[in-house]
Assembly symmetry: C2
Homo-oligomer: 572 residues x 2
């Protein structure tokens, strides 16, 4: 393709709407354009890279024996109603009625539909079976951002495995795990695999493929000592009592604390560490009100709390509800005297003694409070967020926290959906059993953005060869020099004839403009045709290096072939 | 792939819901499954053929220099409001609001969005430009039917060309025309290209690619004599006065016609041919009421009428409106005394004299009516449907009517969308001009169904080699015979190693079942491994022929390669 003909509207300025490097570069290099909040179109150069990622995924999926198909994006409500997710997805699901008033949604993920489809299988002989699709998904995110990183319409590869039993699931899951590693390796990503919460998807185990990046929205807890890594939502905390447990005071005691609401206010007022306080938070869990307690310096992990409660929606109660339940303003809730409400206490709080809590009375706190003596928890659980410096639950090492972009996610679903939708098979003895399922997703647009986050410099994108929109750009330095133009054309044609994805910058532009654009769009190999073409010599430069080699034309073309061959590019 | 592992849920019985052969076979051969009315999933075998068609289209598009990209399916209302199509699409458009109450639709076609995107181009140097996508489209059809033939979610290749002027458009259009011919040729389709109405899309010219088929929903008028072919919606009628024009009667005359409402009633009552009557139909054209007149034996062509009126919605007026306008029940409308209403008269009616019309009085007609003398038409136009036996407007030959499946459609849009959305460029002199556009669509799912309509027999599908899900099926006759199983396995592996898409029917089934399934799913080449494998001989059979050849294994494999090579298959 000739650069003069490609639709690649590059931008000189950094668009003000874009906060992250990948978003900025995807706009500047003409890869994507925004159509609405969280909704983007892929322009030709972006589309080419997108397709390469898709091909790598397809190749790795097919190698596992998974079979590709394609479900619709518009889906009837009934399947989601059967699984309970019509409610669970809440306002994240795009919903509408058709002309006959029937309820539909835009599929946020397809567990229900694959389960429904596979129901036609009745015999154990047809299992195991793994099906996948590369298909458009929809989630009406509260806060779409970072361009295609958190979008409302995006393309996902989603696979679903169906096995006879848990051992089969383990095997299918392992195959997918390996295929994912291979896929992200081939995409040139530096990633880690972390344990993840199974949350609303249900199931028995789950891992995320995380690309470490400052802009990642996921927090990862990891331990350098033992290699443990988990999403903060999931990472287990252990109860450690840093303070020596002092003898339990016989009486707790009401203290007037006017205008003291935050933990900072409290530590100042009482002159002690925030570790001496226990926060009580009032939540609405579906239609039930509950209280959750963590140490003053900790945060409630709502995922853990939600999993413990088994509720669909969990949110902090509004001030009116807090007033109704505690008889006090927000900031003065406490466990003592809080009746008719379940109080879930974090493991760590259970190790504390003589601590300070809200008094359920605006302007008052209670000190020297002790569990069992002063109130009875309905459950003691790990419900707090792990933080940097905590002890590793596996090895007692020290936890570090990093940010990650979730590009892939694999789940052991078990029989949640097969039970809900009656997806059963007959075993060797003719006995009905539910199929045991797994599900496996890769966000393609997000993977593309993550690759840019990890592969760029101040001048632009540095595409890994395997996913570059084109492999080589041929640039004649001076368009007015006929020999340079002719030689460039010849090299370009030779590359194309050899099946190499090349573009020719045939524009009547200054060399500076051409070099700048080539760097911005990140083509891995640049061949520059300048004055030395008289001696049959061109410049060969890789985008990811500053080295410039002078090679004769044949050497240069051979080197191009060698470089491409050394990368695990998808087949055309 | 081994047949025992492929997810192909075949059906023995013809599903009662399926009226057409392609719908029946797509269900029976396990290519698709219905998820909701007009919404289907493509199962693995269906998906493979779907992808082959997609690849053929992509190859032919790329050869023209068109560039692929990918727009979203969820689209903000504003672009369609700007073009006026937010209203025009009516209830065919799926609409919904996002969580912030903003209006969106599921794109039925993307003219607006491509126009909006290409606006970034400012210079004539970047034109011509043709962009395309292969993307999911949505139309909430009043009557989805025939499986994927008229579905509510379907995949379309839609291309849009942007040119400096009409000459440029003509060239882009011609390129697409040729690419479409090549595409449908490669898909093994027998089709004709017909002139089509430009209708709601606007524009100056349009052609449809029609696969002739009894089940086709489009009616095509064609002339064997001169080669003329057009959609009936579009096909021009000429005015011919079959009756000799008798001298105009001086007075028209009211006749009581109790209980005479239909044309059949009238011809009986008056004892003359239906050609002596002129029907007057009352229409609602947007918010205006109009009358349309055609000869008694003719049908109004609503597309022609709508184009003449330039309205967005055209529908027959309800009985209340007819009563209000004509003072009579439906069946007695006529032009005489019909005031304050435009009367559009068909060309043919304008040639009539002394004809009979409704009297605008329930139970009465008027005879000996003549135009100008008795009423004044507001327009005389070709507004009737052409029918079999009419004269060809080009050569005076005789028109025939056939049914066709519209698989492709190409349009010269002109500047309708570039004007509406301000898509302008600067010409060589720095003068602003609107880009001149064309648009070009292929329905992929429908193409697949059309291929089956034209390629099947009583036993199942007969896939053309170019789009077959797999090219060869290897069938061991007796799974209990180890030599047959081993040889089959070896042939299967050799075929795969040679890059041939082969499947092996490794199921423990009777040969009859295997042959039946192979015929049903329509694999083009069958290699049967039976007793003669002891002499290294197998049977070679093409699905589209009853000939069975006995060949030695090497010959058979060579012949497979030769057959595949002789077809213009898409590249893997």
């Amino acid at each position: 393709m000739r650069v003069s003909r490609i639709f690649i509207p590059t931008l000189r300025e950094i668009p003000s709407e874009a906060e992250t490097v990948s978003h900025q570069l995807m706009l500047r290099a003409g890869l994507v354009r925004k159509l609405a909040s969280g909704i983007y179109s892929l322009l030709p150069m972006g589309f080419r890279t997108f397709k390469k990622i898709e091909k790598i995924i397809r190749e790795e999926m097919n190698k596992t024996g998974a079979q590709e198909l394609l479900m619709s994006a518009v889906l009837p409500a009934e399947f989601y109603q059967a699984s309970g997710r019509w409610q669970a997805f809440g306002s994240e699901m795009f919903r509408f009625k058709d002309r006959n008033g029937r309820d539909f949604c835009l599929g946020p993920t397809h567990e229900e539909i694959f389960t429904e489809t596979v129901k036609e299988i009745r015999s154990y002989k047809s299992l195991p079976l793994t099906l996948y699709q590369i298909q458009t998904k929809y989630r009406d995110e509260r806060r779409p951002r970072f361009g295609v990183m958190r979008a409302r319409e995006f393309v996902m590869k989603d696979a679903y495995s169906f096995d006879r039993d848990n051992d089969g699931l383990d095997e299918s899951y392992k195959k997918m795990h390996n295929a994912y590693c291979k896929t992200f390796d081939r995409c040139g990503l530096d990633y880690i695999v972390v344990d993840a919460d199974t949350g609303a998807m249900g199931g028995s185990g789950s891992q995320e493929f995380m690309v470490i990046s400052e802009i990642g929205e996921a927090e990862i807890a990891y331990c350098d000592n033992c290699g443990f890594a988990a999403n903060v939502e999931k990472a287990e905390c252990i109860a450690e009592n840093s303070d020596e447990k002092s003898p339990i005071e016989e009486c707790c005691c009401l203290v007037e604390t006017p205008d003291v609401k935050t933990i900072d206010d409290l530590t100042e007022f009482f002159g002690c560490s925030s570790k001496k306080f226990a926060k009580t938070l009032i939540y609405k869990a579906d239609n039930k009100i509950i209280a959750a307690m963590v140490r003053g310096d900790r945060e409630v992990n709502e995922t853990k709390l939600q999993n413990y409660l088994g509720c669909i929606n969990l949110e902090l109660a509004d001030p009116e509800t807090v007033m109704k339940v505690t008889n006090a303003e927000v900031g003065f809730a406490g466990p003592v005297g809080l009746i008719n409400i379940d109080i879930i206490v974090d493991l760590e709080v259970a190790c504390m003694s003589n601590f300070i809590v809200g008094a359920n009375n605006t302007g008052y706190h209670i000190k020297n409070v002790n569990i069992e003596k002063d109130f009875k928890p309905s459950g003691i659980m790990d419900i707090r967020n792990i933080i940097q410096g905590d002890k590793c639950s596996k090895c007692n090492g020290t936890i570090k926290i990093a940010h990650g972009i979730e590009v892939g996610h694999i789940f052991k679903l078990g029989t949640k959906y097969s039970n809900a939708l009656n997806c059963i098979y007959l075993d060797e003895n003719g006995k009905e059993k539910p199929m045991v399922m797994g599900c496996y997703g890769i966000g393609i647009n997000r993977t593309m953005a993550a690759i840019i986050e990890q592969n760029h410099d101040k001048d632009g994108i540095i595409w890994p060869v395997s996913v570059a929109p084109y492999h080589v750009i041929v640039i004649p330095v001076n368009y007015a020099q006929e020999d340079q133009m002719k030689a460039s054309e010849k090299i370009y044609n030779e590359l194309k004839a050899a099946g190499i994805e090349a573009i020719l910058d045939d524009r009547k532009e200054r060399p500076g403009v051409k070099f700048k654009d080539a760097d911005l769009i990140g083509i891995p190999i640049r061949i520059t045709v300048g004055r030395k073409i008289g001696e049959n010599i061109v410049e060969f430069k890789m985008r990811d290096s500053s080295d410039v080699m002078e090679l004769d034309v044949k050497e240069a073309i051979d080197l191009v072939k060698k470089v491409i061959k050394s990368h695990d590019c998808p087949n055309e």
